[in-house]
Amino acid sequence: MGYESQADFGTPASTSEKMVTLTIDGRSVTVPEGTSVMRAAAECGGSIPKLCATDSVKSFGSCRLCLVEIDGARGTPASCTTPVGEGMNVHTQTPRLQKLRKGVMELYISDHPLDCLTCSDNGDCELQDNAAAVGLRDVRYGYSGENHMGLAPDISNPYFDFDPSKCIVCSRCVRACDEVQGTLALTIDGRGFGSKVSAGTSLDDFLSSECVSCGACVQACPTATLQEKSMKEIGKPERAVVTTCAYCGVGCTFRAEMRGEQLVRMVPWKDGKANRGHSCVKGRFAWGYANHQDRITKPMIRKSVDDPWQVVSWDEAIAYTASEIKRLKDKHGARALGGITSSRCTNEESFLVQKIIRAGFGSNNTDTCARVCHSPTGYGLSTAFGTSAGTQDFDSVMDSDVILVIGANPTDAHPVFASRMKRRIRQGAKLIVIDPRRIDLVRSAHIEADYHLPLQPGTNVAVLTAIAHVIVTEGLANEAFIKERCDWDEYQDWARFVSDPKNSPEFLEPVTKVKAEDLRGAARLYATGGNGAIYYGLGVTEHSQGSSTVLAIANLAMVTGNIGRRGVGVNPLRGQNNVQGSCDMGSFPHELSGYRHVADATVRKQFEDDWGVTLDPEPGLRIPNMLDAAVDGTFKVLYCQGEDILQSDPNTHHVAAGLKAMECVIVQDLFLNETANYAHIFLPGSTFLEKNGTFTNAERRIQLVRKVMEPANGYEDWEVTQLLANALGCGWDYTHPSQILDEIARLTPTFTGVSWDRLDKEGSLQWPVNEKFPDGSPIMHVNGFVRGKGKFVVTEYVPTDEKTGPRFPLLLTTGRILSQYNVGAQTRRTENTAWHPEDILEIHPIDAEDRGVKDGDWVKLASRTGETTLRALITDRVAPGVVYTTFHHPSAQVNVVTTEYSDWATNCPEYKVTAVQITPSNGPTDWQEDYASWAERSRRIKAEITAEAAE
């Protein structure tokens, strides 16, 4: 693909099914009713000059450049605001129009710098293109009159500049901020000649304003006014390759716009079905980590974690790793070996890691970071519905009437989908938010939740059961649906259970702290408000009753019949880019790809025949069990690809003890992450820009990841796994991930129709893709549940054993922030630190005052497990008794305080509830200081030490 901007049809597509035929410049064209004349002209190969119109936002009709003549119509209407009519005869290029357009353009150019040759937008500027299109040759007014040239640019945003001198006040940026992103940060300040784009109040620049740096305004700007700094530095790209973002589970597709092997910018791909042309600050801008100075590109080994690292060749590293694995396998047996597949890597890479563990190491000790995020989703949804995934595509939200968000903070963690959700809410959908914290969705520009239920952390099951109580006892259950689609006997058992007065909102109010009246209102709204869709995140799963909560959510969807069509469903918002995929690929210790248990001899035989090995029929260890077994002395080797368990897993001390007890820890990563401090072998990894493969997003959408540059470390991650497998004697011979994908399709019933060629042609596919669903499945359980009858499961509220008391009276809950991503390995190595340089503790004013804590003070955060320090932010976003922080920075090491309590069914850690105490502090704890010096020592590389000595 060369570099051409994507086609811009000027106005959004109409969704009408009624078609209209008209004639444009003698060409007959048939388009949906409601299409603009401008778009119809573009669809039949024409191009009407335009400045204020772009197809990502509604038509505005201000620039007057797109005027057309229509037979029988008076004057020269704007084609962007004129809908097509049956039999209409339109003329888009006439001498009269040319004269008018030239006059309009002349006025624009009279107040615009003529520095096209040296402008960073040269060759990529719509103003320039349209000046050419209208044939402007002269500006009769001269340039000496009052103008806007020479104004100071706003360079505060780390990724893009705003140059008001080049602004034509088309307000495309303002409308993109309103309509596409939904933040409504930008505005036009002043009137007439004084009109100018403002990032917020008169005191704000782009960095200090409410701007979330999503890039929608930069995308919409037709001139060089809002432009990426990288374009200014590097120049115009020469080619574009469509690939998939490697941050969150939304799975946005981007055009990686390149100069040779240099990435100039990431531009959201308009044809991407997950993001529909939108992006967030991470995917669009935060890719600088790929070439960060901290990146390690050469393999390294060491005998002991107290030694400095020694850089070695790939041959030496692979030979040493294989010999260590063999040695320890001979000594301790196969079950002492295991590994972790990465939810950051591709499906093909995850598949190969679990394959090397099962077929090469000979054990089922494979797990993935879904263990610590959405494993309860897998358990809960497969139990209730028969499949371990969300039921809808993202587009479905546009048909929702009631949106229930529980334990998720989409505007921070899934921002591109949140923009769609907010658009639907602005259109009138009702909103229920169940969250201990007043997240942005509860109240933000043009958005207000109808109900916010600020529950006590740890009481999800109680609240959801109380909602079910209201629905059943008030006769709001959709019994027709239940009789047809679910097991009626199980429903009746469940209905009896939830109807018990001990599950009423009034009885549970002292526990949940949710006003019974509000809970009843929310329950009635969800049950009777039309299409009801539930979206949830880690606030549901990361609890000791995470699996029960997922089951309770499934119960609510079934009891109200909100499943199996557009606008409804149960939608887990997946954290990592490929967490869905890594689960699908058989990363869990008890199941092979496609969620089939290892104890099933028929399934196992299929793999054994294909791989030519015998597989262990017993389930392997999950991550926390691996650590326990290591401390116990029965687990010795860990191959960890693309995950930082030391920082991300709970109870850091215990993780460290587990890692220390292992004899061979192999870390494959971009950076010397925290886990690598305990590693003996470091295999450098490659970024998503350097590899081919596929990711599967939260809507089960499989999308291609395309290599745009050579791996700085020499190999794509799947190639490294293959090198190691072959050193262990596996005899693999893949030359491209498409062959691995073929193997996955061959062995996984939900993937049989998936192939590289098909994904390349069709852009994406949503599994299941097989004989029954040849074109994939945007919506699941349409005519029946995958498991047959939907299963109602009784979910009793069992309080967590993590209790507050006199020593630890507050409840800590944790989450993510927009600009940072999880452990921050990537985002901390970008300019995103401008928004969030450190983890901050949110505390309610009453709790702060009780403890003499002021805004910005250092505080010690202590739990029964450990203690750390960070700075306090006093806010009423959290309820009294609750404190909140993020876990993006290793300096705070928030997981030092989180406990080992975990979900009863999956061992997913209870990150969301920790009893803590807050006290004023002078600075870092002993642990933080010790850890920092230990980490620094552990990261020494031998060559560097020699160099220092020579100096």
Partner: protein, 73 residues
């Protein structure tokens, strides 16, 4: 494997399925452990001190024991 932790895990499973009724709870707890616990975890629990197990978990462990024995045979 630390018996205290395994006991805690078994009891936690039992406690969460208890509302399904005694017999189902015992079966579901046993099935869960058979399905998700690694052999060394099962062995440690079966060979270790079971006195800390709740009645449902203790009954479930008998079923697990029978399953392990059947598979070994």
């Amino acid at each position: 494997m630390d018996i205290t932790r395994l006991t805690y895990m078994a009891n936690q499973i039992a406690r969460n399925v208890e509302a399904r009724g005694h017999d189902i709870a015992v079966t579901d707890t046993a099935t869960h452990i058979i399905k998700f616990w690694d052999p060394r975890m099962k062995a440690a629990m079966l060979n270790g001190d079971r006195s800390g197990l709740s009645p449902i978990a203790a009954e479930a462990m008998q079923k697990v024991e029978a399953d392990v024995a059947a598979k070994a045979a």
